[in-house]
Amino acid sequence: MRTTVSARYLTLAPALVLFAGIAVVPIVELVAMSVSQIDWVQGKAQWRFVAFDQYLRVAGDALFRTGVANTLVFAIGGVLVQMLLGFALALLTTRITRGRALYRTVFILPILVPGIVIGAIWKLMYNFDFGVLNQLLGVVGVRPVDWLGNTSTALAAVIAVDVWHWTPFVFLLMLAGLESLPQDVYEAARVDGATFLQELRYVTLPLMLPTIVVTLVFRVIVGVKVFDEIYLLTGGGPGTSTEVVSYTIFRRFFTEGQTGYGAAMSVVVLFALALAFIVATAATQRRRTL
């Protein structure tokens, strides 16, 4: 068919133009900025070539290192708890018949709410003076805790917010996965007298593995991007206890106006995550073909 060839290009072209203009060109620009010292004189950018100086600074930036470490703790720690809780809740839900739709509706709600609103909600809940958590502690006679203002509790507190926000998403995907599993395998297992744990270990988990892997990768990606809740709840503090890498980039680039240096940091994070994603994809695909 002759028309197909031009139609092929025409249909793909808009996506390629958008990706090229709004993704590829800015990434090239970012690389150019990262090797330049950029000063803003009367609203105009003045560029000066500085080679790799700013990359060396990134390597020695203590705040950046803290940001990377906290991001990993936040993303991996938070997601593991979400996976366990979400899977357990989904497993429970498959055992009930009445009310399943209602629970599903309730659990979708947090997924649809802006990160900033999630932050606003927990700013109220965690407030030292009048937050409901400290009020409840007061009822049982425990002294109030400065959840977000204390270096020993702040990171755990924002991870708890993330768990509250995203466990419902894991639940939703796990429930959809469990509902789509073939029922005859379970009947066979029951005929063979399998216990609940054996059924979980030898039937449910192997069948659910693809869904679990996809959900896990997806959640870690979103977890690593965390910004909104940190911006609203702690601003990276107290000290550097909740500093995450997105926030460090924002701080260096926008708050401190270090355009070139912020770009260098962005390039490092961007390529590191792209590489990590490609490696993870290759690894999971190899496992699936085996």
């Binding site: 068919m1 028309t3 197909t4 092929r8 025409l10 249909t11 793909l12 808009p14 996506a15 958008l18 990706f19 709004i22 993704a23 060109v25 800015p26 990434i27 620009e29 970012l30 900025m33 950018a45 429970l92 009930i96 629970y103 509706t105 659990f107 979708i108 709600l109 649809l112 802006p114 900033i116 609103v117 932050g119 606003a120 909600i121 700013k123 109220l124 809940m125 407030n127 009048f130 937050g131 998403f169 995907l173 789509s180 869904t211 996809v214 997806f218 910004f227 909104d228 911006y231 997105s246 980039i249 924002f250 926008f254 355009t259 390039v267 961007l270 995550l273 792209a274 490609i278 994809t281």
Partner: protein
């Protein structure tokens, strides 16, 4: 028999507790929006409701909230329309128009890699680039950024939905002399309408909720709802009441969608992850 009843009760109890934990914070902020500042500060549980915070957020001269709401609607609607058009065309192209397999895989991998990159790493380049083009603090800058950020997920979802359309439909239409683009418009699009609805709802919500791009590419003229809420929370003294009222108003579109388009939401969230 007795044990089975006990187990069912325990299951329901556990799910009920989970549902309360999920819902309580929403109820709490909704209540806070109706409390006076004093009632908030002393942590009253029983209080006389007031509309003062809503009045301040919506109608006071110092508040831009209504303009922010309009901005969010314009930006989310426009970026959703762009994603739907571009993603449907691209998904149809890679699924049905005979591109070499390596090219399709490369394209999808590239889109997925882009999706894994935090927006904040690109915002700096967008800020400098859009400023140079005179597009800083315009709708177009945020719309283009939101559309591009959501394009990978749009293509991914639309490709999943188009893949499921039986080839026989196209063959029948081809015999009737249907051209390639006509085929997409007359045969594929009507069949994948539920998928398009799912993609639309999801992309709209993503754009409506997005914060870090909007924070750095907009100023007073084009600021969106999340930026407005963050201002209430970030001023020297947090305006808890106004923040709560703004937050409550901001989730209304999502609540409407949850009520009327829940199937589309579930389809969009689970497609691709669950076979």
């Amino acid at each position: 028999m007795k044990q089975a009843t006990l187990r069912a009760t325990a299951t329901h109890a556990a799910l009920l507790v989970a549902a309360i934990i999920v819902l309580f914070p929403f109820v709490w902020i909704a209540l806070a929006a109706f409390k006076t500042q004093i009632s908030l500060m002393i942590g009253e549980v029983l209080f006389t409701p007031t509309l003062a915070h809503f009045d301040e957020v919506l109608f006071s001269g110092a508040s831009d909230y209504l303009a922010n709401y309009r901005n969010s609607l314009i930006i989310a609607t426009a970026s959703t329309l762009i994603v739907l058009t571009v993603a449907t065309l691209a998904a149809y192209s890679i699924e049905r128009l005979g591109w070499p397999r390596w090219l399709v895989h490369g394209f999808l991998l590239g889109a997925a890699v882009f999706n894994a990159i935090p927006a904040i790493t690109l915002v700096g380049a967008w800020y400098v680039g859009f400023r140079a083009l005179g597009l800083y603090d315009t709708y177009l800058a945020v719309i283009l950024a939101h559309a591009t950020l959501n394009l990978p997920i749009g293509i991914w979802l639309m490709a999943t939905f188009i893949r499921e359309v039986p080839h026989e439909l196209e063959e029948a239409a081809r015999i009737d002399g249907c051209g390639t683009l006509q085929m997409l418009w007359r045969v594929i699009v009507p069949v994948v309408m539920p998928g398009i609805a799912a993609t639309a709802v999801l992309v709209f919500i993503h754009s409506w909720n997005e914060f870090v791009v909007a924070l750095n590419l907009t100023a007073r003229e084009t600021a969106t709802v999340p930026v407005a809420i963050s201002k209430y929370a970030q001023e020297n003294e947090t305006k808890y009441g106004a923040m709560a009222a703004g937050a409550v108003l901001s989730v209304l579109p999502s609540l409407v969608l949850l009520f009327f388009a829940q199937r589309a939401i579930v389809r969009g969230l689970t497609a691709g992850a669950v076979k």
